[in-house]
Structures are given as C-alpha cells and as structure tokens.
Point group: D2
C-alpha cells in the first residue's frame, strides 16, 4: 500500500474564520486548516498545502473563481486527489468553473462549513473528514462533499434555507 | 434525491465504552452511538438502529462472529447500506465471517475506534463519519472504514503496533 | 450544610453571543447561560435566574447601568449572593453604579468573557466557575471575578490591551 | 498589583489519569496538569510545579500521606499559596495529616476530580479553576475545593454516594 498524495488548496470561507476579541468579529485572517488536520488520523496520507487565498467567498471576483479552477486542474495533474476548502456562498461558482475546464486528471473535492471550526458546535471537522475520504474513493471529476453527501458538478447549488448543498431543481430534505 | 436507508448494527467495542466513577474503569454498559450521531449533520440519512450486543470484542465467541455476519447480510437485503460498529480487536474475524457468506445485497462497512468516544482525544467521530460516507459511495461488499482509509475484506488485519488496520502481509506507515 | 441561594442576573455580553449561519455574525439573541451551568457540578447551589436584558454592553445606556445596579441591590436583599453576567466593555460602569448605591446586603460578583462560550477556545466557563465560587467566599461588596482574579469596586477598569480587568492607575501583567 | 506565587504539588489521582490504547485502561503515567493549566487564563499567577508522585490515591501508604503533608507545609513557607492535586479516595487522609501538623504559613487547597481530565465530560477543569481561585481568597489553613464548594479541614469526608466531599456527620444534597 503506497501513500495517497493529496493536494489541499485553501481559499478561506467560514470554515477558516477566527474570532478577534478586539473587534468581536469573525474574519478570515489566518488558516486554521492545520489545526483541523491535526485532529484527524491519516496514517498514509501525504499532504501538500497550497494557500491560494483567504477570503469570505462573498468577496470573490470572477477572476478568483477562474484562478481556483485553473489551480485545481494544474495540481490534479501531479497528485492522486485534490481537496479545495472554500466558502459555501460561492462554492458552486468555483465548482462550475472547474468542471467547465473539463474532467481533471484526479478527483477534485470541494468542501467548507456552515459554522466556523472555531465554534464548539461546528460542521467543519465532519465535512473535512468526508472530503478527505471522498477524494480517495471517487473517480476523477469535480464534487462537493459535505453533510454526509457527495454531489458531482455540474448542477450543484447551495440550498440557503436548509443550509446545505443539493442538485439544481430538486428540494433537499 | 431520495433518502439513503442505512441500518446500523452495534456490537460494542472501545468506541462505545463509558466511564464509571465508582470503579474508575471504562466498560460497555450503554450505547453512546446516539450521542455521536447527534453531533453529525446527515440531512437525508434515514437510520434504522439494531443493538445486537454490547461487548468488548475480546469477549466475543465464534457464535458472536457468526451472528454478526448473518445479521449484517439479513439487514443488507432491506436497505441501501449497513454500518457495523465493532471492537477493533476482533473486527477482522467478524469481517471475514461476513464476506465468507458471499457478497451482500448492499455495502457492509465495519468501523470502531482505538480510543473511546468519551475521551476528549478520540478517533470515534472521525471513523463514524468515514463509515457513514463510505457506505454511500461503495459497491456491495464488506469493508472496514477507519483513519482515512477503506479496506475490502477478505485479507484485512489489525496492525496492533500502528493502532490501525491494513492488508495482510503488508506493513502500514 | 444548607444550600446556598444564588441569584443570577444576566444582561448579555460577549459571553452569551451566539452564531447565526445566515448572517455569519455573532450576536446576543438567546441566553446560553443554562448550557454553561449544565456543564458545572454545583450540588448545593440553588439558582434563581433573572434575565434583565441581553445586550452587547457597548449598546447600554446610562439607564441600563442604573437598572442593573438597582436590580442587583434589590435581589441581594433576598439571597446569599448575586452573580451578574455582563459585557466586558461597560462592565466597569455597571460595577461603579452598583457600589455607588452602597454596600449590598450580599456579595455581588460581576463576570463576563473576552471570547463567547460558543467558541472552542473561550474563557467563559473559567470566569463563570470563578464567579460562582467567589460569591460564596467573599464579604458583601461589589466585585468582578475573571481570569483567576477578584477585584473590588470602586476603582476597577478594563485593560483593553491585556484583555482583562485591573485596578485604575496600575498596569496589569 | 504584584504576581501571586503559587506552588502546585501534584500527587496523581483520577484527574491525571490517561488512556492507553494498548491495554484499554486508564492509569497514572504522565502528568496532564500542564495541559489543563494551558486552558486557563491566569495573567498574574506565577506557578512553581512540584511533581511529588503520580499515584492512584488508593495505592497511597501512610508514609505517602505524611510526605504530602510535610511537603505542603514546607512549600507554604515560601509562597503565597499551595494547591495539592490528589486522588479523591484518600484526599481526606492527606488533608487531615496536613492540618494535624498545624496551621500552614499560606493556604493549602486540595483538589482532584471524579472523572479524568481526558474525558469529554469531566469535572477536572472546574475543580482546578476553583482551587486556583480559592487559594487566593482564603486565610491560611487546609481546605478542599471542588464542585463549587470549599471545606476546611479537619472534618472533611468523601461522600462516595454523592461523588463529592462534605463535612463528617452531615448529609450532602
């Protein structure tokens, strides 16, 4: 059994927001992915980290989505799988941009969280755990893994009422 | 998107051990799976729970392994996937007994933990999260999901030194 | 040993802020004091809860400070001790208003937090634990208990740089 | 405001027990007090640590109780307060031995826990927080601080049914 070579592209999002006592606000200042990864056991996973940006995805420009898509395809050519950590608000835009560039050389799995990792009650570790497993089990393609589900692009949308992702045109329970 | 019908067969193991202040020991008294499941977001998962036994797997008899294998096959005929929560010491015996009965009607994924859920530093939630996702992505078969890996029976063994599972005859990093 | 009759006056503050996924912001919507209290063992403490307001203390008016001071004195007449949960930004104003009304019939201990209870890394439980013990050990008076220290009003100020409280005119280490 | 000079004498006990995956048991192997202290904010506390022993108190000999009492008195002469971390089963014996040697030069506060710090649901941090505050507020003497209460020796007993401490001859609520 050889190690699995994973590339993690981090772009920010709620999952990485941290609290500043001075302002009393949550914002994207530093990446907390390493703290999250340290809580998981991944004995044969070799991780290469690329800190592409650290933004609330509501602030992403069309150029940002293109940059993310292009970067994901590029790194997919040199590893066994790619995980992209992303804000949920515009995750679907980046996912669609990525699949629009064709099928990648390795699976690209987007994930994020509805509540920051810094919170006691967070979905960050669950989603990260799911994305890290999904990237090892899926065929090359572009996906979002979150809340015990994997959905393939194109056609994925955020369901703001349910606070999760689903397929366009379908209601989510 | 219709709901995924999951059957959880719980048999005990380290993952479910709880602390008793009187004796100062950890033991299998009550199932804590419901507490674990309550920490995860699984919007379209329908869970049917079967509490088959609650044992440290070191105390399992050959009859127990057969009972677990038979029960897993039976419930697999009526749902989309089966997760079996099991002690790691004899998990491989139950897994081999299960695959020896043939390919099941739905994927059967075993999981457990090296450290009880009750501990602050535990692998229980990670493994549970992984098993709950793996059962949705895999073809019918018998597997163990743990520590960011999925291995298919037959041929899986516990690596006691590394504290995880691997394939027979191979070293694990 | 008879029970200790404690009255808790809650006014909001960072300690009680909760996260809303829709807006992505922390705000004072519901009191989380009961969740915090449920994590502590207080076998002979009888608690009477008064939800006076739920405000970020930066939004408190002079009337609010007077109301808090008057309420604390009133309830102190009918119990063994009073704990006031308060935002740290204007905690000193309410404390000074309270001691300006004279020595209360029972100890009144203010507390709060620099980081909300909802955060994984929070000082909320520590400060709450300290205030709940201090109120049982102190003479009647008005105090703040936080960060392993108890300070008596008048003369307490927030040290915004150090993120804690100290005595006016003194630097805090 | 000058710093408070605290000496911590650690002797083991449930509070410091850690889990070993190989044996599946909790035992006193390494001190976890530093991990606990790292979770608290104590800006003006100067701590001197003395690791006297690391035992389940059920295994303590009469000589151990005398050693603990003598050590606590000795260090009390050179600091502002002493906290002794101790197993609850024989905590009262060590406390009685300590007060039998006379009133110490500084307050000596014993504490411990019914459930190890390693457990998700533990009273360790609460009790530690209480002892660390009590030692700053009390007059010289020998005490136990635990579960929102401070009791002075002599005359303190463990109430095994209630899982806490009380005064000899009194029932605890």
């Amino acid at each position: 059994m050889t190690d699995f070579q994973l590339t993690i592209v981090s772009t920010g999002g709620t999952i990485e927001k941290t609290y500043e006592a001075t302002s009393g606000a949550l914002s994207n200042r530093e990446t907390v992915l390493d703290h999250m990864l340290a809580q998981l056991r991944t004995p044969d996973l070799r991780i290469n980290r690329i800190r592409l940006m650290n933004k609330d995805s509501l602030e992403m420009t069309p150029e940002d989505h293109q940059l993310i898509a292009r970067s994901a395809h590029q790194v997919a050519a040199d590893c066994d799988g790619v995980m992209v950590v992303h804000g949920t608000d515009r995750l679907a835009e980046s996912g669609e941009s990525t699949i629009a560039m064709g099928t990648p050389a390795a699976p690209i799995v987007f994930t994020g969280a509805m509540r920051p990792f810094e919170l006691r009650d967070t979905d960050a570790l669950q989603n990260l755990t799911e994305a890290l497993l999904a990237v090892r089990l899926l065929e090359p393609g572009v996906y979002v893994a979150m809340h015990n589900r994997v959905l393939a692009f194109p056609g994925v949308v955020k369901d703001r009422t349910a606070g999760t992702f689903g397929r366009a045109g379908q209601s989510i329970g």
